[in-house]
């Protein structure tokens, strides 16, 4: 009886220990995953900003002639009226 008791106790303790270890592991995993995802998001925001900076570099803004300006306005108005129609 005592022997059975001690065996049962041993299994109980073993199961409890496994449970505690598993819970700790799971919690650690959760925490590290959430902090990793935060870092990941920051890195992605930074990558977007870098892409934006790159897209803006080395561009030429060229002066439009009067004809170009007129053509631009005509084109915009045509597009608009076509879309409305």
């Amino acid at each position: 009886m005592k022997e059975e008791n001690s065996r049962r106790l041993f299994f109980k303790k073993a199961a409890a220990a496994v449970g505690v270890v598993a819970a700790a592991g799971y919690t650690t995993n959760l925490i590290s995953r959430s902090s990793a995802s935060t870092n990941n998001a920051s890195a992605k925001y930074a990558a977007d900003l870098a892409a934006q900076e790159k897209a803006m570099m080395g561009n030429q803004l060229v002066l439009m002639t009067d004809d170009e300006k007129k053509q631009r306005i005509d084109k915009l108005l045509n597009c608009h009226y076509q879309a409305i129609a």
């Binding site: 803006m56 060229v62 002066l63 170009e68 306005i73 915009l76 608009h80």
Partner: protein, 353 residues
């Protein structure tokens, strides 16, 4: 028929009845569940948890443009209720439509801009952008050395447009035609931290969504969550956006910003006057960008960036009206084309007064 047979038939019939009843019950409970789910998400139903509305009703919500008036009302009521509870202040979500007979355009005088970034901060404040980690800014101000400007004013009027065999493209001959008449964004700094602006020998150029007349972002969107309204402003239905970022890739001006994380908008800094397609708080996983302050401009007001500019470098108006500020700028000032090669016909113009 023997008694035995009759008993056997009865038994089979009972079994079939039982199975039929069971199937009936299953069907009935499925139907009941389907009916109950949207009903539980109806804004009329009082629930203590404001997020409860979102889970089902917002998930099944269609594109706002395609909704019936009743559905629109419900969607707006749902959002107002959720934002009011979330930010603890009475929040309104407008769905005022764009006015007829209007094509919005914007012009910015780079000769006047002093790079103070007041427009940036006014935009952040007005449009409920994420305040930290990171602060999302729809306007980027570039600081460039004055040496980048490569034309001489005295040559400006000496050129003339020449017709070519392909048609009249207004190609200039003479004057500044044989060198770049304009300026380059070479060596520009996007994130300058000067305490005093404008810095000597530098000029500044704010960049935001150019509200293209032929927007590549709209073409790229696989679900048409982004679209151009009839006043020419490119907008996004945040609830319909699937966060694929195709529009961001398509935009030559990189003017779109993706919410990689949940935006951080403190309740005390939240602007409660919102528009469905404009400055209502966004969620994680959706795209956002400048809307020419749709919540203001659709009601006849100026965008927040224009109001905040201390030097009057920004002009906003109706391109269909020849007497508007923007049309007058186009008619009388030195205007630049920016990334013309993409053929997107931006309605945002840079000029020197």
């Amino acid at each position: 028929m023997s008694q035995e047979k009759i008993e056997e038939f009865k038994e089979v019939d009972d079994k079939q009845q039982g199975r039929r009843e069971f199937l009936k019950n299953v069907c009935a409970s499925s139907v009941a569940a389907l009916v109950a789910a949207p009903a539980s998400a109806n804004p009329a139903v009082d629930t203590s948890n404001p997020d409860a509305d979102v889970t089902v009703a917002e998930f099944f919500q269609g594109h706002f443009i395609l909704m019936s008036d009743e559905e629109k009302k419900q969607a707006i009521a749902r959002l107002e209720k959720r934002y009011t509870a979330q930010y603890k202040k009475k929040t309104t979500v407008s769905d005022v439509e764009a006015p007829d007979g209007v094509l919005f355009g914007y012009a910015l005088d780079i000769g006047k801009c002093i790079g103070c970034r007041r427009c940036v901060h006014a935009c952040v404040k007005e449009n409920n952008q994420s305040r930290h980690d990171p602060e999302v800014q729809w306007i980027q101000v570039m600081k460039m050395p004055k040496g980048n400007i490569s034309f001489t004013a005295d040559q400006l009027d000496k050129g003339y447009p020449e017709r070519s065999e392909f048609g009249d493209y207004g190609v200039q001959v003479g004057g500044n035609a044989y060198k770049t008449a304009g300026f380059s964004t070479e060596d520009a700094q996007n994130y300058y931290t000067d305490n005093v602006v404008p810095e000597k020998d530098f000029f500044y150029m704010p960049v935001q969504c150019q509200q293209c007349e032929k927007p590549p972002c709209v073409k790229a969107c696989p679900v048409r969550a982004t679209f151009r309204d009839h006043a020419g402003v490119v907008l996004i239905d945040y609830n319909w956006c699937i966060g694929c970022r195709m529009c961001q890739l398509a935009c030559p001006y990189q003017a779109r910003h993706f919410n990689w994380g949940e935006p951080n908008l403190p309740a005390e800094e939240m602007n409660p006057q919102t528009h469905y397609f404009g400055n209502r708080p966004r969620m994680r996983g959706v795209m956002e960008k400048c809307t020419f302050c749709v919540q203001r401009t659709r009601e006849g007001r100026d965008p927040a960036c224009l109001e905040a500019c201390p030097v009057g470098a920004r002009k906003f108006g109706n391109l269909l009206d020849p007497e508007s500020d923007v049309r007058k700028v186009l008619a009388t000032k030195r205007v630049f084309r920016f990334k013309e090669e993409f053929g997107t016909y931006p309605k945002f113009f840079y000029y020197i007064g």
